[in-house]
């Protein structure tokens, strides 16, 4: 995307996740009680409703669940159409992330994809997606 990225407005739950992402670590939360992986960051496990958790680094790998080609310039400065993908993470099947597409051709439904980090600056990196392997 040629536009300037909109900087994420982080919150008290999410700030540590963004700090890890800036260090190019891809992590979700793991419930210490029942082991459920969750994203985005929040205090309580949706399954066992307990608040004890730890970060768990996982492979940034998943499958394309859907995608769009955005033409309308919803972002100031976006001059070219850009692709946004919705990815379901392979190691954390309950977790979905969005990102921009870094493949040559368009994505395909169910395609195996791998995330890569795009550093905006020292404090911010984004995760984009392209064909795995």
């Amino acid at each position: 995307m040629s536009a300037e990225a909109i900087r994420p407005v982080t919150d008290r739950d999410s700030a540590p996740w963004w700090e890890r992402t800036a260090r190019h670590e891809f992590a979700v939360q793991e419930c210490e009680t029942c082991g459920t992986l969750r994203f985005p960051a929040r205090a309580y496990c949706h399954r066992c409703r307990t608040p004890r958790w730890r970060w768990r680094q996982i492979e940034p790998v998943g499958r394309i669940e859907s995608w769009i080609v955005s033409h309308q310039p919803f972002l100031p400065g976006a001059r070219e159409p850009y692709v946004v993908v919705r990815v379901r993470l392979a190691e954390a099947l309950e977790c979905v992330v969005y990102g921009n597409w870094r493949g040559d051709g368009p994505p395909e439904d169910g395609q195996l994809v791998r995330g890569s980090f795009t550093a905006v600056d020292e404090a911010l990196s984004l995760v984009d997606w392209g064909p795995a392997g």
Partner: protein, 380 residues
């Protein structure tokens, strides 16, 4: 909920003109629609003891509209945060307040300058305050047409739904709007016109997307007994239901081609004592074409996956007889309820569905904001 069924009624409907630039404040729009609804019901502002709306920081609150109309001591009020997910919930909540005897005559309204002042996901406002926005906006994923296009693509991939299905639906809704004097878009369109439209966010073209409208609509909710003595044919509120939706927080429904309406619809129908086969007319939330397709499935009018061909065929239940958001105007859901009222009263003119006795009207089915709501109305 048998104790709720048909105990309350919609006794009056009022609109402002729909336009692209009202030139007035949302407070003015709200007052105009409310006064029109009261006149329609044969009531005055002195009869009103409750006010209800929903907003996303874009409109006049009941705490302003009440005093502006000299309604200084409401006994019940509701200022609900939210957009199209809660449009029908607001009316349902007013009906609950009336059925419980807390209030007797509640005006529900929605007033927006959605084209000239506060465009959804567009210019004129900041990003919504919601935890998931930070994970989406940096990738240029910010606006409802993008979000709905994402869900529509998943449906197309899974069930073979085609853009032509969306297109035929848009063509049919336009044909309905041609018969609706209130509608903003009254020039017929063809499938070729649809396909020639510019891309907004693939798979959506221009004519997949709702209008952006300045305007207001208001409804008077009162007891069935009181409505029976007023000047218009009462339209009874047979059922109101509230449901969840698709959340970005992990742990929810993993299949985005099934909306919260699928879980909610059986409860709604059970409250009303009817099923989809008894629905004579359906005014279905159509922020985008796909929204109608998926709801036709999830409210039981056709099987899962068949919503595209069903919507394209024009067979089955009459849908969005006013033209919907795609062609009448975008008042965030309340205009769908108002059209249902018109159909059940039998005053819908050239677009009247013969013998309409029972109507369904639905809110946004729980994408984007994980909440939904719907009403079943019956001719009194």
């Amino acid at each position: 909920m048998a104790g709720f069924r048909d105990r309350t009624a919609i006794a009056g409907v009022g609109y402002t003109r729909f336009s692209r630039n009202s030139g007035v404040s949302t407070l003015t729009l709200a007052c105009e629609a409310i006064m029109a609804a009261l006149e329609d019901a044969g009531l005055s502002a002195d009869d009103v003891d409750g006010l209800a709306t929903h907003r996303v920081g874009d409109s006049a609150a009941p705490s302003v509209v009440g005093p502006a109309l000299g309604i200084h001591e409401p006994v019940w009020h509701l200022d609900q945060f939210g957009g199209g997910s809660v449009s029908h919930a607001v009316i349902g909540q007013a009906a609950l307040a009336v059925a419980a005897g807390v209030a007797e005559t509640v005006v529900c309204y929605r007033a927006i300058n959605a084209r000239s002042e506060f465009r959804m996901g567009g210019t004129g406002r900041g990003l919504p305050v919601s935890p998931e926005v930070q994970y989406q906006a940096p990738y240029g994923y910010v606006a409802p047409p993008q979000q709905y296009a994402m869900f529509a693509r998943a449906h197309m991939s899974k069930y073979g739904t085609k853009e032509e299905h969306f297109g035929q639906l848009a063509v049919r809704q336009r044909a309905s709007a041609v018969k609706n004097p209130r509608a903003l878009m009254r020039t017929p369109i063809t499938l070729d016109d649809y396909l020639a439209g510019r891309w907004i966010a693939e798979p959506f073209r221009l004519l997949d997307c709702c209008l952006e409208t300045d305007g207001a609509c208001a409804l008077v909710v009162t007891t069935a007994e009181r409505a029976a003595g007023l000047r218009r044919t009462p339209v009874l509120i047979s059922a109101a239901a509230w449901g969840g939706g698709d959340s970005f927080l992990s742990g929810g429904n993993p299949d985005v081609t099934v909306t919260a309406a699928a879980e909610m619809a059986p409860r709604l129908y059970r409250q009303a004592g009817v099923g989809p086969a008894e629905i004579d007319v359906a005014e279905i939330y159509d922020c985008f074409t796909y929204s109608v397709v998926v709801q036709l499935e999830d409210y039981g009018f056709c099987a899962k996956g068949e919503g595209g061909p069903y919507a394209a065929s024009g067979e089955g239940v009459p849908v969005n007889t006013h033209g919907g958001f795609l062609s009448e105007g975008y008042v965030h859901g309340i205009n769908h309820v108002a059209e249902a009222v018109s159909q059940l009263r039998g005053d819908a003119g050239d677009r009247q569905v013969d013998g309409a006795e029972v109507a369904l009207s639905t809110a946004q089915p729980g994408y984007i904001l994980p909440a939904t709501s719907a009403l079943i109305l019956r001719k009194g």
